[in-house]
């Protein structure tokens, strides 16, 4: 332990503690901007680049960044001297002097760390005027929107992309005032190996990185009387949406969410969970086939479009191992425009499928050419949890006062196995529940596989099914996935089945979720809520979903059969590394 003094408060802190953390222990708030510590997923952004957290350290010539300066024995720190406060204000004024300051019409209005900081420091005037940076905006991907004019060079995106996700899309380019974070050669994002996981968006303090918004398109469709607009909601939405309206993280707002969608004008409100159950029966079938020698092991889950793009770029030699199942919301789109359209006698051309997703990559996914059939595409628009909340506010709905309503049938019915898709480990757990029963022909007593649950970046389990020891691997976060895949490729490890989610923690921490502002307890609360939801469901195995059983009986036929393959399966494409 080290003895230090902060603002005349004496305290003991462990060796290696930063001034910032020590100040927290003494209940002293030091403003920060670039700093971000997501220790649960091993991400610490310690660039000390914004210079907002400057404090005075006795005996030091210049001011010290509290976020990146470790305490030493006898250190005397003053956080609120005239010198420190003046420097801090100047830094924020300088940042603002090179910022569009169009807060009123900014995507991040109310969610921007720079805006919050300016308010916190009581900035009333920007004393410095001059040239402002202007760069090309990039919405080439239709998923991720880059507006470098708003970049404050905190480098969080770079740390996230390079160190956690290991995609290496961003780095600082150019020099001096022209310095900006950009992809190599300033390529449009669509031409890079970006997977659009959106974790950079999750950590961007300003609106330099956001999603490409389709809110206006969705409104347009909703107001078009010719269109039949239906919604599907991903599992992770219902435990996060409430945060946008002042509810606690993890509050289950499924009923209010459905009510809100109806009031926004959606003709039908369906559940991606239905399609998740479909995914499981298809994937479990594929898994059993591969176990029986038809195809290569391990089987990799394919629900996550970001992860799919990752393997296409990074491990093209492994493209035969992901399951050929489409992601649940893409299956839903295909089902909606065929089975549902026929059953309810609706012209599929008129159906507009809107996916409400915790995800930015899904915006990219729907544009993949495999999912387009002539004029029709399986899913028409993807909006994020955040965009959905925006629509609710725009429509003037008092969300917390909405009644709880139920999903429409038949594509609204789901089991507990589907809802845990939103958390890392959930898909494989759901698949195990079904695979176990199908292989053994016995009923599974305890459906909970605790080894594959939780936020840990890599988890493994061995499940005894009949006389087989089935080895399961679960990775979340692309960096963890990379390590796992390298070992698989090099034959260093073997698993029968692997689940990979691009976002650390899975979809509950997706790039389209309400901003966590560095507090991953929010994500943990969402995670727990999903498992609680699973527990509360009368049916907890996908193959028991009566609506799914009915659909196969009425329309698709055999699980893994020809029609199933046409509607519910896909293929992968080798992509360049750049």
């Amino acid at each position: 332990m080290i003895n230090i003094t902060i603002n005349d408060i004496k305290l003991q802190v462990p060796y290696g503690t930063t001034i910032l953390d020590a100040a927290k222990m003494a209940n002293i708030h030091i403003p920060t901007l670039c700093h971000l510590n997501l220790h649960d997923i091993n991400m610490v952004n310690r660039t000390a680049s914004c210079r907002v957290c400057l404090v005075e350290v006795e005996g030091r010539r210049n001011l010290a960044p509290a976020c990146a300066t470790e305490c030493f024995e006898g250190m005397v720190v003053k956080t609120n001297t005239e010198r420190a406060i003046r420097a801090r204000r100047t830094m924020v004024e300088l940042l603002l002097s090179d910022h569009p300051t169009d807060c009123l019409v900014c995507e991040k209005n109310g969610n921007c760390d720079l805006q919050r900081l300016a308010a916190e420091l009581g900035i009333r005037k920007i004393r410095y005027e001059g040239e402002k940076s202007t760069y090309t905006k990039d919405s080439s991907s239709g998923a991720l929107y880059r507006n470098p004019d708003k970049c404050i060079m905190c480098r969080r995106c770079e740390t996230m992309c390079n160190e956690v996700q290991t995609c290496g899309i961003y780095s600082a380019v150019d020099r001096g005032f022209e310095t900006v974070v950009a992809p190599a050669f300033n390529l449009p994002m669509i031409d890079t190996q970006c997977t659009f996981c959106g974790q950079c968006v999750s950590v961007c303090p300003t609106a330099a990185l956001t999603e490409v918004s389709y809110v206006d398109k969705v409104w347009e469709a909703l107001f078009d009387s010719e269109k039949y607009v239906i919604a599907q909601t991903a599992p992770a939405i219902r435990v996060a949406l409430g945060e946008e309206f002042g509810l606690n993280p993890g509050d289950n707002v499924t009923g209010k969410m459905v009510a809100a969608l109806r009031r926004l004008g959606f003709k039908k409100v369906f559940d991606t969970n239905f399609a998740a159950d479909v995914t499981i029966v298809e994937e479990a079938k594929e898994f059993i086939d591969r176990l029986n020698g038809k195809g290569r092991l391990p089987i990799l889950t394919s629900c996550c479009p970001s992860w799919v793009k990752f393997i296409e770029h990074q491990f093209p030699e492994l493209l035969d191992i992901p399951s050929t199942c489409k992601s649940p919301h893409m299956m839903f789109g295909a089902i909606a425009k065929t089975y549902f359209a026929e059953k309810f006698n609706i012209d599929p051309e008129k159906i507009v499928v809107v996916s409400i997703m915790p995800c930015i990559a899904k915006k990219y996914e729907i544009q993949r050419k495999e999912f387009k059939h002539g004029n029709l595409q399986d899913v028409d628009y993807v909006i994020t949890t955040r965009e959905f909340a925006r629509m609710i506010r725009e429509a003037g709905l008092d969300f917390t006062k909405l009644p709880d309503e139920d999903f429409d049938n038949p594509l609204g019915e789901s089991t507990g196995a589907a809802v845990i898709f939103g958390a890392t480990g959930g898909v494989i757990e759901a698949a195990l529940r079904t695979a176990y029963e199908w292989i053994t022909g016995e009923s599974l007593g305890n459906v909970e596989f605790n080894e594959v649950r939780g936020l840990k970046g890599f988890k493994e389990a061995t499940v005894k099914i009949k006389d087989m020891d089935i080895k399961i691997g679960v990775a979340n976060g692309l960096g963890n996935a990379r390590k796992l895949l390298e070992d698989i490729r090099d034959g260093k490890r073997f698993y029968h089945a692997i689940e990979i989610m691009a976002c650390p923690g899975g979809c509950i921490n997706g790039g389209g979720q309400p901003y966590h502002h560095g507090n991953l307890d929010i994500v943990k609360a969402r995670l727990e809520a999903l498992y609680k939801l699973d527990k509360s469901k009368p049916l907890r195995k996908s193959h028991e979903n009566p609506a799914v059983i009915q659909m196969y009986k009425e329309y698709i036929g055999e699980i893994g059969g020809e029609k199933a393959h046409k509607l519910l399966h896909t293929h992968y494409t080798k992509r360049e590394k750049i």
Binding site: R46, R51, R83, L94, S97, A172, G176, V180
Partner: protein, 600 residues
């Protein structure tokens, strides 16, 4: 009279970049041709050496052992040197240095005022030996220090000697070298590195380049000694790609040193192994900052990281790393050979030894000088430098490059050392020294350096990236005549905050040129802002052109060259400038043969 063709002669030709730019390569070739033509190959060796330092008078040729120093040698005089001096023993008088004050011709190098007060330790071999021939280095006690260290000393003893010598880092900050070595030695780790920082980037500075070009082995030897002292087996020289000659000579030196067993496994038969590799930098000024340099070697973006941890703790590839600059390493072998007391007897109380400066600007003798610490600015500028060009009035001297400041006349007698320069708001830096005269506008000078810092900022931290840009914009406003008095206050406050808030040394020192000129030349700032004039007549936007009626003969030349046709007048009658439309291009001023146009 010299007449000794029987004896072996050496003709030394300066091969520094400065002299090469004035075609010393050609002089070298011509000398060789002549020597061959006269069948003197056996008796006369023509050698291309490193920089003599007296760039103002280059190309330099020196004939040894006659000790005759020729300046401004061209092809014709080179032939004459062979035909007259070498063959007939007659000095080529017209190429002997002539003292502009006494008009005395001085053939001996050490008697030339430029060299009189110099003490050459780091530059000891520059201009004396062929840098591409290791034998010449060895003949000048080269690698003796390494041998002494390896055979007679424990690493701790080496560190102790360097500490007692009082040597401080010659690259900028002036951190005691011995302490740095000690810290690296004490850091835990089985793998450690030595890095030579040869990323010299100050405008006008070429100290390190000259050492690398003129005496590369001295740096290699210094590095090997450092490697032994701290426990490293590998060294890197980070040198900028803009120094092709230095790179060329370093490559030769490294390969020769390896061949001779001064680098590589089991050096001189001992257990100590050490090798050196070159890392070529892309020429970013910021890569002279040690953490940025390390990032660059590792293949990352050249930008600094937060210190602590210092490289001595966590350096290259996260291993303890000792970084010194070229001149620091070049000082090491003589310190080992002559002892710490010898070295510390030179200089001031806290700054020992000598310092190499690149003397440039409005001074008569532009070049490279190595002087003892404690010499005054006046001595350098007036004795070595020969005073101000064109007999103009001295205004200021800028030291420390873009990180330094401008020192005015009243401090000319300040003894130069690290602490005195810091106290004046400037710094030693790596040794750039630029002299300014009455025709230099100090606001404009500050702007020049700030522009440099803005261009070279890595862009990482807010203070430097945006702060310097805003400062530059205020300076632009002032030099354009749009400044207000409150801008000066904003400028000063911003400068002080940037100094206090920036992440690295570049940002922390980039306001120095502004702060020091505001401190010593505030009147000039006020003149720009209040009177909207530039006293030195430099800031174009503030100039006003007038025709002096008494001098104007009405030749119409000015009216003809005026691109915007605002000069009116009948031939042979006094002309007038309509200042309303004048774009202040200065064409009329340059054209008038009667001195009838003035500007203020």
């Amino acid at each position: 009279m010299i007449n000794s063709i029987e004896k072996l002669k050496e003709i030394l030709v300066c091969g520094g970049t400065g002299c090469q730019a004035s075609e010393s390569n050609r002089v070298f070739e011509v000398l060789k041709e002549e020597v061959k033509a006269e069948n003197l190959d056996k008796q006369v060796k023509v050698i291309m050496t490193g920089c003599f330092g007296f760039c103002e008078k280059g190309p330099i040729v020196k004939v040894m052992p006659d000790n005759v120093f020729y300046v401004e040698v061209d092809e014709a005089s080179a032939r004459k040197i062979v035909k007259e001096h070498v063959l007939k023993g007659r000095i080529v008088e017209e190429k002997i240095y002539k003292d502009p004050k006494t008009l005395e011709k001085i053939p001996e190098q050490s008697s030339i005022p430029f060299y009189k007060k110099q003490i050459r330790i780091a530059l000891r071999n520059c201009g004396k030996i062929d840098p591409e021939n290791i034998n010449e280095y060895i003949a000048s006690d080269g690698y003796m220090a390494l041998a002494k260290v390896l055979k007679e000393m424990a690493p701790e003893e080496v560190i102790d000697i360097v500490k007692r010598s009082g040597l401080r880092g010659r690259g900028g900050g002036g951190f005691p070298t011995g302490l740095k070595w000690e810290a690296t030695r004490k850091s835990k780790g089985d793998v450690k590195y030595v890095i030579c920082n040869a990323d010299e980037g100050d405008p006008g500075a070429f100290m390190d380049r000259s050492i690398l070009e003129g005496d590369p082995h001295s740096v290699l030897e210094g590095m090997a000694i450092a490697g032994y002292a701290i426990g490293a087996k590998q060294g890197y020289i980070y040198v900028r790609a803009e120094y092709p000659l230095a790179i060329h000579r370093l490559k030769i030196a490294i390969s020769q040193a390896r061949q001779r067993g001064f680098l590589g496994e089991n050096i001189l038969g001992t257990d100590f192994s050490f090798d050196v590799d070159l890392k070529i930098g892309a020429g970013a000024f910021i890569c002279g900052e040690e953490t940025a340099l390390i990032n660059s070697i590792e293949g990352g973006r050249g930008e600094p990281t937060v210190k602590p941890p210092y490289p001595a703790q966590v350096g290259l590839w996260k291993k303890p790393t000792n970084i010194n600059n070229v001149e620091t390493f070049a000082n090491i072998p003589p310190i080992i050979l002559n002892g710490p007391d010898w070295f510390s007897s030179i200089g001031t109380e806290k700054s020992k030894g000598t310092k190499v400066f690149a003397l440039a600007g409005k001074v008569n003798n532009v070049g490279l000088v190595e002087v003892p610490m404690g010499i005054t600015l006046r001595e350098i500028i007036y004795d070595l430098g020969g005073g101000i060009k064109g007999g103009k009035k001295f205004k200021a001297v800028q030291t420390g490059g873009p990180s330094g400041g401008c020192i005015p006349y009243e401090y000319l007698d300040t003894p130069i050392d690290y602490d005195n320069l810091n106290a004046l708001g400037s710094m030693m830096g790596s040794g750039g020294m630029i002299v300014m005269d009455e025709n230099d506008c100090m606001v404009n000078i500050a702007k020049f350096y700030l522009e440099f810092s803005c261009d070279e900022s890595c862009g990482r931290c807010t203070a430097c990236r945006i702060g310097n840009k805003r400062m530059l914009e205020i300076l632009n406003k002032i030099t354009e005549g749009k400044g207000e008095m409150e801008d000066l206050e904003t400028l000063r406050e911003l400068a002080e905050t940037i100094k206090d808030s920036s992440l690295c040394g570049l940002g922390q020192t980039s306001p120095n040129p502004v702060l020091s000129t505001m401190k010593f030349f505030y009147d000039e700032y006020v003149a720009h802002v209040k009177d909207k004039t530039c006293p030195a007549g430099v800031c174009t936007a503030l100039l006003k052109y007038y025709i002096i009626p008494e001098k104007c003969v009405g030749c119409t030349a000015c009216a003809k060259v005026c691109p915007v046709n605002v000069i009116h007048g009948e031939p042979r009658k006094v002309h007038v400038i309509d200042r309303e439309g004048c774009i202040k291009c200065g064409e009329c001023f340059r054209t008038c043969r009667f001195g009838a146009i003035t500007r203020k």
